[in-house]
């Protein structure tokens, strides 16, 4: 187990999340993908923390987790609002404003 491998794992996770973010049309799917990407960030931080031998990465990861949680909470609330308006959580439905 090397730092490089950990970083590649996190990069792969990030890219899979990106793939999901770009393909999903359903708001829940998008939130799940964002979670994957956020998780990749945390893996990076923890890996750096381990290989550098300091606590800084872990502290940052702690904050990162908290930030992601707040994003998800608000995101879910917005999705529910969306569903309330359209009875549908596919984001393509909300396209009244364009061009």
């Amino acid at each position: 187990m090397t730092l490089g491998l950990c970083l590649i794992l996190s990069a792969a996770l990030f890219c899979i999340g990106l793939y999901g973010l770009l393909t999903h049309r359903h708001a829940i799917g998008l939130l799940l993908s964002l979670e994957l990407m956020a998780n990749a960030t945390n893996i990076n931080l923890i890996a750096f923390s381990r290989f550098r031998g300091d606590s800084m990465g872990q502290v940052f990861a702690l904050f990162s987790i908290a930030l992601t949680v707040t994003e998800v909470v608000v995101g879910l609330a917005i999705v529910i609002l969306l569903h309330r308006a359209y009875r549908d959580a596919r984001v393509g439905r909300a396209s009244e404003f364009r061009h």
Partner: protein
Amino acid sequence: MIEQVGFGLVAGCIVLAALLVARAKNAIHGVLWLGVVLGATAVLYVMLRAPFLAGIQLLLYVGGVMTLMILGVMLTRHDQHEAALERKRPWLAGVLSLFLLGMLVTAIQTSPELHASEAAPATVKDIGRSLLTEHVLAFEALSLLLLATMIGAIVLLRRDRPDRLVEESR
């Protein structure tokens, strides 16, 4: 050696489950696979000598976020049709993601490698001290953020009038 195999297993588990999340057709399945990713990541944290973070991960993510997500799915699901996650443009997304992966891997490969430090792993005490000294300002800001999020989530879904929307009353 054991470590290598362990890492391989966990990493494979994470990637596989992540792929299943990204390609999930059913919202509940997606959430459950995300749970697997997050859980496996917690194991990885333990392997990376960060047991405290692993605990947080399990507690906050698997406990909190997963519950929220499932709640979200339930609240936005009305019939079988809408539980299905619609997906589009897989090719474009695939190309872009692989492109990003290529660039990131190149960057990782060409950057100098760090050797594993032999220093003692950071303890909860270290983390706590750091939080309450150097990063106390950010910590306090974070508490404000959590408060704002709470209030925000409430106000988002609250209405001035108790009567229901026309769609819901149908």
